[in-house]
């Protein structure tokens, strides 16, 4: 993906102003940020794996109300490798909403870029 598309990208939040958004930002460059409506994230993560393994990444944060999804609501800084590996578990899922696939691809591309750049990622839910 063209890394320009990862710069201040609101594609999957436009039209949802007023609703919860999850923002992923490159810690080293705050202009590298994507904004995604939480409803798309819910669609991605709705059926987490229940195979006896602990959850990781956004699956853990979303389903266990931790990290950026804790009640404290603070932004958290994370290593993207764990979050990328976790996201990839959903690559075969049939999403309910037609646009969720695009949001998923964007999140994966962002995390891949962060890994490539060896950069930390800040996650915040607004």
């Amino acid at each position: 993906m063209d890394t320009g598309l990862l710069r201040n990208n609101y594609t999957y939040y436009e039209g949802f102003e007023g609703e919860d958004e999850v923002v992923l930002t490159l810690d080293a460059d705050s202009d590298m940020a994507i904004h995604v409506w939480v409803g798309y994230l819910d669609d991605i993560l709705r059926e987490p794996v229940l195979n006896g393994s602990e959850w990781t990444g956004l699956t853990r944060d979303y389903h266990q109300a931790e990290g950026a999804f804790s009640q404290e609501g603070e932004s958290v800084t994370v290593h993207p490798e764990e979050y990328l590996e976790d996201m990839k578990k959903y690559s075969e899922r049939q999403f309910d909403e037609p646009e969720t696939a695009g949001a998923f691809q964007l999140i994966v591309a962002f995390l891949e870029f962060a890994v490539q750049e060896k950069a930390l990622v800040r996650i915040q839910v607004n």
């Binding site: 409803g39 979303y62 266990q64």
Partner: protein, 171 residues
């Protein structure tokens, strides 16, 4: 000679000590004015707002005031039993129907369990007003589906009702 604008009867004999006190007084007065201006711009009163909530808000709830893009919001968060509650008062949001004013939206989450005999995903729910005026809990996935449909312009009558009934009228 500089006069204090704090209203306090400080003299101004020009000594460094008095000038520092006057400066601190003046700075404090400016801070008070700024705080008063901020309070005056709030569309709510924290002392009375919780009483208008359709769900009782415990005194121990954590309160967060937010100025969002184009609207104000106050969040009340607390935990009771297995559930984490989020009760939000907010002004009309940018994409809300024109007929909707300020609202309460109430959600709760039962965190999931990754492993073990009770392994399950989290349960996210929204509190919806029923026909009898009482509230009941609905999976948030339905709420999200309704919001997505509204954005596409394809919301059904039931989805429109769900979104209306999940926004409890607020002062």
């Amino acid at each position: 000679m500089r006069s204090s604008d704090s209203g306090q009867a400080h003299g101004t004999n020009g000594s460094p000590q008095m000038n520092m006190e006057q400066s601190q007084s003046s700075e404090k007065a400016k801070q008070n004015e700024a705080q008063a201006a901020q309070n005056a711009s709030k569309a709510y009163d924290l002392r009375t707002l919780p009483k208008s909530s359709p769900m009782h808000i415990p005194k121990t709830a954590v309160v967060t005031e937010q100025q969002k893009d184009g609207y104000q919001q106050v969040k009340y968060q607390w935990t009771r039993g297995e559930y984490k509650y989020l009760n939000r008062w907010h002004q009309r949001t940018p994409n809300a129907p024109a007929t909707r004013g300020n609202s309460w939206v109430i959600e709760r989450t039962k965190p999931g369990i990754a492993r073990g005999p009770n392994a399950r995903p989290a349960e996210h729910e929204v509190y919806i007003k029923g026909k009898n005026g009482k509230g009941h809990w609905v999976p948030k996935s339905r709420w999200y589906a309704a919001i997505a449909a509204r954005k596409r312009g394809t919301e059904t009558k039931k989805q429109k009702e769900l979104l209306n009934n999940g926004h409890w009228p607020a002062p």
